[in-house]
């Protein structure tokens, strides 16, 4: 990616790496490369969807951006500032928040809804009087469509969708600009998913939010995202506009991933060719050399084992990491 900073970018991630040490046997540990050299930017006001199969490092990317894990290396730039020093992280926490996947474990069962929603306000001392705090909580509950009578209740009294709304209200409490949504709808059933996703859309419009939307449901991502990034085994393999990715994916992994999306019309579904990959995703502990996808890639050649393909811009705004794009799309 170009080093010239774009004024429109809210978040710039440069060569982000996140390795975890995993114990293998006594006194021996091995790095697990959860995220390996990932670079991308998120434009102000857009929704970037991040997809990939389980264990490919999507969640780790989201959490590392928010500095919940200290990155092994790489830089996170937010609004032109490097997020590294404790002060910058502290400021950053008021601007970037997170919505979690599991609405059951992400709310403390010992706290009332109003305490949960106001927790970020309490932490940052963002109110002067009790009334101010209460008013803000009621306002947030109204944003997410919760009844104000629910403020003094406990989280276990709510359904999954309502709990997720509480989680979203909490993430909005500090008036953030950027929200990392870590599979916010995957634990909900389909009718509730639609409600929550539309709410995300409405909130974005109303509050001018920027989302990093992590999910593995491709249709959900397509619906909400402006651009989509595809990850495989800790690396980003493709990044483009949502429609481009859906209509003309270039990386063999994206092609296979998208061919798995169910289509409602059986006629079209029958006509579509399903690209089935052989084998399983390799363990990130022993990732293949060179291109991580070569072990399952139908187009793999010798040079794929030698070097990791660069993540390069093949068309305007369409980034792909593959040595043989021409062969794939011939």
């Amino acid at each position: 990616m170009s080093d010239v900073r774009n004024e429109n970018n809210l978040v710039d991630i440069k060569n982000l790496k996140q390795y975890f040490n995993v114990n293998v046997g006594f006194f021996k540990s091995k790095p697990l490369k959860a995220v390996d050299d990932v670079s991308f930017s998120i434009k102000r006001g857009e929704t970037l969807g991040l997809v990939g199969e389980s264990g490919c490092g999507k969640t780790t990317v989201g959490r590392t951006i928010l500095n919940l894990y200290k990155p092994t290396s790489g830089e996170i730039w937010y609004d032109g500032k490097l997020i590294k020093s404790p002060e910058s992280i502290k400021e950053f926490r008021k601007k970037a928040t997170m919505v979690f996947q599991d609405p059951y474990s992400s709310l403390n069962p010992r706290m009332t809804v109003s305490d949960i929603i106001a927790e970020p306000l309490d932490i940052h001392n963002m109110y002067k009087t009790k009334e101010e705090r209460r008013d803000r909580v009621l306002q947030l509950m109204e944003y997410v469509g919760l009844n104000s009578e629910h403020a003094s209740r406990y989280a276990h009294e709510f359904s999954g969708g309502q709990r997720q709304r509480i989680g979203i209200a909490r993430s909005l409490a500090v008036n953030p600009e950027f929200i990392v949504c870590d599979e916010p709808v995957s634990a909900l059933d389909v009718s509730i998913q639609a409600q929550v996703i539309n709410m995300f859309d409405e909130l974005q419009e109303k509050l001018g939010l920027t989302y990093l939307f992590i999910a593995h449901d491709l249709l959900v991502v397509r619906h909400i995202s402006d651009r989509i990034a595809v990850m495989y085994l800790g690396k980003m393999v493709e990044l483009a506009d949502a429609e481009t990715i859906y209509n003309r994916p270039l990386h063999p992994y994206s092609i296979s991933l998208l061919s798995a999306v169910p289509v409602p019309d059986p006629k079209i579904a029958r006509a579509n060719k399903r690209v089935v990959l052989k084998g399983d995703i390799p363990s990130p502990l022993n990732a293949p050399s060179g291109c991580p996808f070569r072990t399952r890639c139908p187009y793999a050649k010798e040079d794929c084992a030698l070097s990791m393909p660069q993540f390069k811009e093949v068309e305007k705004g369409h980034f792909v990491a593959c040595h043989h794009i021409e062969d794939v799309n011939a």
Partner: protein, 352 residues
């Protein structure tokens, strides 16, 4: 309405749209209950635990109030009146018997409070000694448990939350203390502390409590926090992986905030239960230490030392051993059963 074949025979005129008022009437909000209220409700359903709770309350109130209103005191030898020869008729009185001077007062028409459990070899009212001993034992049990709770909770939550090297060092210290034979350590520590503290306490408030009880507290503080620390560390290790902890960290909460606001409130049930079960074990330890002569200082009774003293006259006065033994058993049993009831009521895993 005439009967039609394939009809449900329902008169549609019976169905009216509900008015807003009626709709409102139908909406029933379940009253909000807290975790604590739920637990208390379940606890009250458990009859054994409720009875035990009342026994504990009655014994505690008795131990506090009776020494204030009772005319005799625990160290008053009834046969000794200044300026008069010792009246031996007060020694070793059987229950509800009176000494010589008291007989005279009764003959004169005065009322004399009876010695319900008789008197001991020095002519001291045995009932008040048992009550006072209960007071001491309960106080020791209660305060020792609080000391254990505070130390164990602090160390355990820090070890559990910080993890890594901090956890490793703390838990190895815990392992070392755990591996010491605790009865031997208690006896050694209290006999050493007894000598060390003897002189140091003179003239301070603590002197009244006695060096032995203080050393008992120290022994508890040093030795018995380990199991509490382990328990809480284990709880916190699993709780800190919860997403709400991550959410608090994402909001920028410092470690202290997370421990106090999220982790400790969520292991409250474990803390309450193990403290309730710690009290009887502390009472028990105090009793056997007193029984071995390492407990409370001489004139002051405790249930253990009363039982120990009673051994001398066990053939003639067996009730002097039986009474404190029953009181110890009653307290320990009630607290244990109450603790069990608390666990059943508050353990979230058992909740349906």
């Amino acid at each position: 309405m005439e009967n039609k074949m394939f009809s449900a025979q329902v008169d549609l005129d019976d169905f009216m749209p509900a008015s807003d008022k009626e709709k409102e009437y139908m909406v029933q909000m379940r009253p909000s209950t807290t975790f604590f209220k739920d637990g208390v409700k379940r606890l009250l359903k458990n009859k054994v635990a409720t009875v035990c709770f009342f026994i504990i309350v009655i014994i505690t109130l008795a131990a506090i109030i009776i020494p204030i209103v009772w005319p005799y005191s625990y160290d008053q030898m009834l046969g000794m009146t200044p300026g008069k020869p010792v009246d031996n008729s007060f020694n070793n009185l059987a229950p509800f018997k009176y000494g010589r001077s008291e007989m005279r007062r009764i003959a004169n028409g005065e009322t004399v409070i009876p010695h319900i459990f008789g008197t001991d070899a020095q002519g001291r009212d045995y009932f008040i000694r048992v009550v006072y001993g209960t007071r001491i034992s309960l106080a020791v049990g209660f305060f020792a448990s609080i000391i254990v709770l505070i130390i164990g909770m602090t160390v355990g939550s820090v070890a559990g939350y910080c993890g890594g090297a901090v956890d490793l060092v703390i838990m190895r210290i815990v392992d070392i203390i755990y591996s010491l034979p605790d009865m031997l350590m208690v006896i050694l520590l209290s006999s050493v502390l007894k000598v060390v503290m003897e002189g140091a306490l003179d003239g301070t408030v603590l002197a009244k409590i006695g060096s032995n009880i203080i050393s008992l507290f120290i022994v508890f503080g040093v030795l018995y926090w380990v199991s509490m620390a382990r328990l809480i560390r284990g709880q916190i290790l699993s709780l800190r992986e919860q997403e709400y902890v991550l959410a608090a960290r994402a909001a920028g909460a410092p470690g202290k905030w997370i421990i106090l606001k999220h982790l400790i409130p969520n292991c409250f049930s474990v803390i309450i239960i193990s403290t309730a079960l710690q009290i009887p074990s502390a009472i028990f330890t105090e009793s056997y230490l007193s029984f071995l002569g390492l407990g409370v200082n001489a004139p002051m009774p405790s249930l253990g030392s009363l039982a120990s003293d009673a051994l001398n006259g066990i053939t003639s006065y067996p009730y002097r051993l039986i009474i404190p033994a029953i009181v110890i058993s009653l307290i320990v049993l009630s607290l244990n059963l109450f603790g069990d009831g608390l666990r059943d009521a508050f353990d979230p895993k058992l909740n349906a």
